[in-house]
């Protein structure tokens, strides 16, 4: 056993932080795409559009039922063999694609639950004053569903940030990949992975604060 090499750890922080933007960018892009896809899937599930509903069910079942790592390998190493035009897909794109599809499946279900959970009488009230279904969704249901779903969606975002570390298995040098390289050079594995763990932790903690603030804001209308 040896003492922790604090100087090495301190020196590592700025190097790894240099890769933080890539981590956050992949997560942000994944989240944005996943949100759009999840909303589509949720609306399909709620309105039970024939055909599409079956597709949505299959999609959700597959992407929830298989590990993210397997999906990433499937997209990055597997798909280009079948669809040869994908040969140029790079690791970052494959990661964003994988995160999008994987997390949209989970998020679709929580958005669907939030929509279904809105008190039916408000739907009737909106229809009774002559609103169309679309207006009802946009003005009454979705704003309230957003509030209900936000805590869960923020949790998925946090999970997604951590999951970007899997990109390193696709040869992307993001924060985790960089750590691996640094550690391989110095042989100080414990120090290196401890530093990267703390960085992820701090980022997630910071996001938890944002989450709390956001929830308080969204809850303002509902306080007695």
């Amino acid at each position: 056993m040896h003492a922790l090499d604090f100087d090495y750890m301190l020196g590592l922080v700025p190097i790894l932080l240099g890769y933080l933007p890539l981590t956050l960018e992949m997560a942000a892009a994944g989240m944005a795409c996943a949100l759009i896809l999840a909303c589509l899937l949720a609306v399909i599930r709620v309105t039970r559009i024939p055909g599409l509903n079956a597709f949505a069910l299959l999609f959700i079942s597959f992407f929830r039922g298989t590990p993210l790592l397997v999906q990433l390998f499937l997209f990055y190493y597997g798909l280009p063999q079948i669809l040869t035009f994908l040969i140029a897909i790079n690791g970052i794109t494959a990661t964003i694609l994988g995160l999008t599809l994987h997390f949209s499946a989970y998020m679709a279900e929580s958005i669907r639950a939030a929509i279904v959970g809105i008190d039916r009488s408000q739907t009737e009230a909106a229809l009774s004053i002559g609103m169309t279904r679309g207006q009802l969704m946009r003005r009454i249901v979705l704003p309230q569903a957003t509030r209900v779903a936000t805590p869960t969606l923020m949790n998925y975002f946090i999970d997604m940030i951590k999951s970007t570390s899997l990109a390193f298995t696709l040869g992307v040098t993001e924060m985790m990949g960089a750590t691996q390289k640094e550690a391989a050079g110095s042989f100080l594995y414990f120090e290196a992975f401890l530093v990267v763990a703390v960085i992820y932790w701090v980022v997630v903690e910071a996001l938890s604060w944002v989450q709390k603030w956001l929830e308080n804001r969204l809850n303002r209308a509902y306080q007695r």
Partner: protein, 249 residues
Amino acid sequence: MIELKGIRKQFGDHVVFDGIDLSLERGEIIVIVGPSGTGKSTLLRCINFLETPDAGRLTVGDLSLDATTATREQILALRRRTAFVFQNYALFANKTALQNIAEGMIVVDKLPKAQAHARAREILERIGLADKADAYPASLSGGQQQRVGIGRAMAANAEVILFDEPTSALDPQWVEEVLGLMKQLAAEHQTMIVVTHEMQFAREVADRVVYMDQGRIIEQAPPAELFSRPRDERTQQFLRKILAANPIA
């Protein structure tokens, strides 16, 4: 003028009512009474297609439609000519009292927002909640919420306001303020159809009381006549029971 002709509604095998005819003049106030589960609320909900009638003809103002062939546009037009007040208020939880009242004017009537808000403020004044304009439903009492619910219906500028047991879900201390507001509307000759168990209100305010039992309109008459000389055996029994529990002055 409102006219219902041959309205039928069934849920699965259960026929709630078949062949309901009812008509009222502009400015007339009808109170529908009767035992629970006789289809009073369902009838009211059929008038603005919250329930789709299985047969019959509906006329509201210049709009007339057949239940079986009604198009989407006709249904929307019908709903613009009717307004509904719900037993459980059904306010939009994400909107303030002012926004609840203005919502239909903005989204359905396409009024400019400033104009809609100005009208909503007038209505808030009339329902005695001018100071609650920016309050969300969750912070209002039951009585206040129901007054906003009525305000929302007033904003629709409808030919008729349909009240579905508007005081049944209220704590007793809020009932009077809601009935008071309804009386105020009645005094302004707002056409309304009210389903309620408030016999005192029926007696004071209704032009006509309709007694409904097991999906049929048994009899209808001005309140003084119906309450003092009910013709049908079932009406007599119902009134005896309900008036024994809640005597009216």
